[in-house]
């Protein structure tokens, strides 16, 4: 039984193994799309007139898969939705990135994608529309520096694959006082809201389409170009604890390979509270098995 | 061996000179203006050769050394064959076998505007004109003649390109068409574009013709006129049977 990361990190004792295996089999039974998953060089039996999309190649008349993934049809188009792969940027995607380099009038961000994202200074302001002067370029560094986490939107993709980002509305910009997590991009479903504000805990949750997730203290919307001192105040203890708890919930879901939606994350969060499992023990094997079983029930309920 | 000091300029014309040979001695020349071409250089009143080659003289007062090299020194108004190396936003980097890469502005095409910038992939062969070669700057090229018309300039599709020396390309471009091309032209139909930087492009319908023309030209560099004709006859005879 080929087990992804889980087996390597978590020593499951016998009962946990049995429970986990049963849960996985039930999950497999439930999922409808597993049987048309293909691997590299599998031939796809399709009638000829379909359009060939990503991940497929025509080799002497026969359609062959070039990646491992699931064959999906969108009316006339057949393509392979890849699973584990780097993030393929699309315009209007909300992404979270980490700054690698501050260069002349632009920031270079790591997005877990083929090319690094470039956030130009000109596409940085939001309310005050004015030409960026030389002075702005000089104080770029006191707005965003290396290793800062930034949230932005994919602006446009250049011919040679260059990726330009835009951070033109108040939601985007530098993120502070929180935790940055990395998961596989295929676990993040494309939806129209990626910004989630959890009032009960006073936490912002941004699920980046590129698999970078930000969990941080809630920030009122105002222009972050003007920095004032009272803004830097101390975050309370329980907010910080809930940030960690949500972070670990996301890590557990990522280890198990479940999709990241707000609902699933909150459910795991509440499960960990209900079982009053300490934040650290959430990464233990027992909690993983609990989450797996919980996920099974949820899917049964929903199916 | 001491540098050959020659008094009368005519003695060395059409002779082979080697770097260091003193070609002209201006001290005893009475107020004559002399134009020095490539390969000659003057220190105070002695003109000596910089490059090995044949000293040539043309009517009024133009002296230069005719030599054949693999490297090309860009000179304005030369027609050359360039290979696209890289395309940046405002100009293409083109290799013309010169000391540096040359620049071809994206607008230097007939009716070239920001809208219709052509897309050349790396390795495209272009027939170009050298516009500017000021020192310290990369030479500037253009795909139009002086009046802005395309006139044969631009990308060369298909066919085959061979690298030869600048001497051979000058010979191929000589005014009475050189014997090789003349002889080949009788039997075979082909088109060639010769760049002064020692690159020749040959194209024709059948690959066989292209190969014969290419190899004939390659071998003709060191042959005299009659030998070239004999060589071409032999080649054509071989393929006709």
């Amino acid at each position: 039984m080929v087990m992804r990361k889980l087996q390597l990190e978590l020593p499951l004792n016998q009962t946990q193994k049995v429970r986990f295996k049963r849960a996985m089999e039930r999950l497999q039974f439930l999922s409808s799309t597993t049987n048309n998953s293909v691997i590299v060089a599998d031939s796809i039996h399709e009638d000829a007139f379909l359009l060939k999309g990503h991940g497929t190649s025509e080799v002497d008349g026969e359609l062959m898969a070039t990646v491992c993934g699931v064959v999906t049809h969108v009316d006339k188009l057949v393509y392979i939705r890849t699973l584990r792969a780097r993030y393929k940027p699309e315009v209007k995607d909300i992404v979270v990135g980490r700054v690698i380099e501050v260069s002349k009038s632009c920031w270079r961000l790591e997005l877990n994608s083929t090319k690094d994202g470039i956030l130009k200074l000109s596409s940085m302001d939001n309310d005050v529309q004015r030409r960026k002067t030389y002075v702005d370029e000089l104080n770029m560094r006191n707005i965003i520096v290396e290793d800062d986490v930034v949230c932005a939107e994919v602006g446009c993709i250049h011919r040679d694959g260059g990726l330009e980002l835009r951070a033109t509305s108040y939601k985007y910009g530098k993120l502070e006082k929180g935790q940055h997590l990395m998961v596989d991009p295929y676990l993040v479903k494309r939806s129209n809201i990626h910004f989630h504000y959890i009032e009960s805990l006073g936490i912002d949750l941004i699920i980046g389409r590129n698999g970078f997730i930000w969990v941080g203290e809630h920030v009122q919307a105002q222009d972050h170009m003007i920095l004032d001192d009272e803004m830097i105040k101390h975050t309370s203890l329980e907010t910080r604890q809930s940030i960690l708890r949500i972070g670990n919930a996301i890590r557990v879901l990522s280890n198990l390979g479940f999709t990241m939606t707000l609902e699933v994350i909150m459910e795991t969060f509440n499960l960990s509270n209900a079982e009053n499992i300490d934040v650290y023990d959430m990464l233990g094997s027992e909690f993983h098995v609990l989450v797996a079983e919980n996920e099974l029930e949820r899917r049964i309920r929903r199916a | 061996m001491a540098a050959k000091v020659s008094v009368s300029p005519t003695s060395l014309i059409d002779q082979i000179v080697v770097p260091g040979d003193v070609v002209l001695d201006l001290s005893n020349m009475t107020n004559q203006t002399i134009k020095l071409g490539s390969g000659l250089h003057q220190d105070n009143d002695v003109i000596s050769a910089m490059r090995a080659g044949k000293l040539s003289f043309c009517k009024p007062n133009k002296y230069w050394v005719e030599s054949s090299h693999k490297r090309y020194i860009p000179r304005p108004e030369d027609h050359v064959l360039g290979i696209v190396v890289d395309s940046k936003t405002d100009n293409f980097w083109v290799d013309i076998k010169g000391p540096q890469l040359a620049l071809l502005p994206v607008l230097a095409f007939e009716g070239g505007t920001q809208r219709n910038i052509p897309k050349f992939e790396v390795g495209t062969l272009l027939y170009l004109r050298v516009v500017k070669t000021n020192t310290g700057m990369n030479p500037e090229l253009s795909c139009t003649d002086a009046s802005g018309k395309a006139a044969l300039f631009g990308p060369l599709r298909d066919g085959f390109m061979l690298e030869t020396s600048t001497g051979l390309s000058r010979m191929l471009l000589s005014s009475p068409t050189c014997p090789v091309i003349e002889a080949l032209g009788k039997k075979l139909s082909f088109e060639i574009a010769v760049g002064l930087n020692g690159r020749v492009w040959v194209n024709s319908a059948a690959p066989r013709t292209v190969i014969i023309v290419a190899n004939a030209m390659m071998n003709s560099e060191s042959l005299s006129v009659t030998q070239q004709r004999i060589m071409v006859e032999k080649l054509l005879a071989k393929i006709s049977d």
């Binding site: - | 890469l101 495209t124 062969l125 390109m161 066989r208 190969i211």
Partner: protein, 438 residues
């Protein structure tokens, strides 16, 4: 960076398209047939064991040298064979100076596998004293001009050099039977290496997805082809090595077709090489015979002619002869005593590369080269070397086994004689002289 970009050789789209279309109709750019080889010329240097091969425009030189080393622990009675390649930027602008690139290492390993793994050279015969002293043969290949298909040219150069190489004959003697005496060429004829068979390399280029096969690809064809394969076969049809390093996939049938093609060509190429070597050997032996009678007959005229030529050649080693003369006595010297002279000698020895071995190979090669000069003075100087792997110090200590120097019968006498005037006495009584042939 832009400077480096300027002088690189570039392939145009037109050339690659034309080469492919021409190959469709079985035509190659230089007019050859698909399986024709370019003109092959093999020349030999003045000394034994040096060859120069010209395959079309590709130009490779091979040098074979041997020296006595301690054998590997796991093979006490076998000599060793090692190959070093030198891709100098002179041959091709794309060769980087300094550490050998991937292609240089690959070429060396292809030829190395072809010769060593298939036991082409008999290594048992290289053993002098089991466990103590064996001959270590080293082949150096220098690429002088890259006209494409370096592997075949380098392989032929290596074979030709190996076949003409002669190593000094030596016997085990002395009191406790541990002494090894090297006999100079005058006393005992130098011995050739024992070569069982000649592994010949044939390189194939694959075009348009492996359907078209071409032999002996040129530089342009190498830039265009999508895959290559080198098959090393010998005359009696055995396959010695194959190297198809990935690249384009090819059907099994095409590979077997290539193998048959190669083995059918092996006999022809072997014949060419053997003929060249025989011609060289005949000419060398003629030359040797010619030299002896002239010496006896016309005492005066012979030497003056030879001396003039001799003088020119040895004048530049005047200084070396001076210093080394007072160190060496006629009798055999025990290794320790000689070490001092060895160090002293090595400092002023200017000929021969100081340390050939740019790679971190286990066996460090000593600076001196044992090669038998053809003309008069023969210098056999071998220095055994304690093989300390990774011996850090630059100066290799090594005891001489025994140094017997005999100047060639026409070698220079000591300086007090006026150069031109050579008496019979000089010619006959061999005077101890160590001269190094650069």
């Amino acid at each position: 960076m832009e400077g480096r970009l300027a002088n690189m050789w570039r392939l145009t789209v037109n050339e690659s398209k034309f080469v492919e279309t021409a190959l469709q109709s079985e035509l190659r750019v230089d007019g050859r047939g698909l399986y024709d080889y370019r003109k092959l010329t093999i020349k030999f240097g003045k000394e034994y064991g040096s060859s120069e091969v010209q395959l079309g425009q590709t130009h490779v030189m091979g040098f074979v040298t041997a020296q006595m080393v301690q054998p590997y622990k796991d093979r006490p009675n076998e000599g060793s064979l090692s190959i070093f390649t030198e891709f100098s930027p002179m041959a091709d602008p794309s060769f980087e100076p300094g550490r050998p690139g991937e292609s240089a290492v690959e070429l060396g390993r292809i030829i190395d596998r072809g010769l060593r793994e298939s036991r082409a050279v008999d290594t048992e015969s290289l053993c002098i004293l089991a466990g103590k002293m064996v001959w270590s043969v080293r082949i150096d290949l220098h690429i002088l001009d890259n006209g494409g298909n370096l592997v075949d040219a380098a392989n032929i150069a290596a074979l030709a050099a190996l076949m003409t190489f002669r190593r000094p004959d030596c016997t085990v003697g002395g009191e406790n039977g541990q002494e090894v005496i090297i006999h100079p060429p005058e006393e005992r004829e130098p011995l050739p290496l024992i070569i069982h068979h000649l592994p010949i390399a044939f390189t194939f280029g694959f075009f348009n997805k492996g359907n078209i096969v071409v032999m002996d690809p040129t530089y342009v064809e190498e830039a265009v082809m999508c895959g290559r394969m080198t098959v090393t076969v010998n005359a009696n049809g055995d396959i010695c090595a194959i190297q198809k390093p990935g690249e384009e996939g090819v059907n099994q049938s095409v590979i077997l077709h290539c193998l048959r093609l190669a083995s059918s060509r092996a006999a022809a190429t072997t014949k060419i090489i053997r003929e060249e070597v025989e011609a060289y050997n005949r000419e060398r032996s003629l030359q040797k015979v010619k030299r002896h009678p002239t010496l006896a007959k016309s005492e005066v005229s012979g030497p003056t002619v030879a001396v003039k030529e001799e003088y020119r050649k040895s004048s530049d080693q005047e200084k070396a002869a001076e210093i080394s003369r007072e160190h060496v006595e006629r009798l055999k010297l025990s290794p320790e005593e000689l070490r001092s002279s060895k160090e002293q000698e090595a400092t002023n020895f200017k000929g021969g590369p100081s340390n050939w071995d740019p790679y971190s190979e286990a066996m460090d090669v000593d600076s001196l080269k044992v090669s038998l000069a053809s003309e008069g003075d023969s210098i056999t100087k071998s220095s055994s070397k304690k093989k300390t792997n990774g011996s850090g110090n630059a100066q290799k200590d090594g005891g001489e086994i025994s140094v017997e120097e005999v100047t060639g019968d026409l070698g220079k006498k000591d300086t007090k004689h006026k150069d031109g005037e050579m008496t019979l006495k000089d010619a006959v009584k061999p005077k101890k002289k160590r001269k190094n042939k650069t």
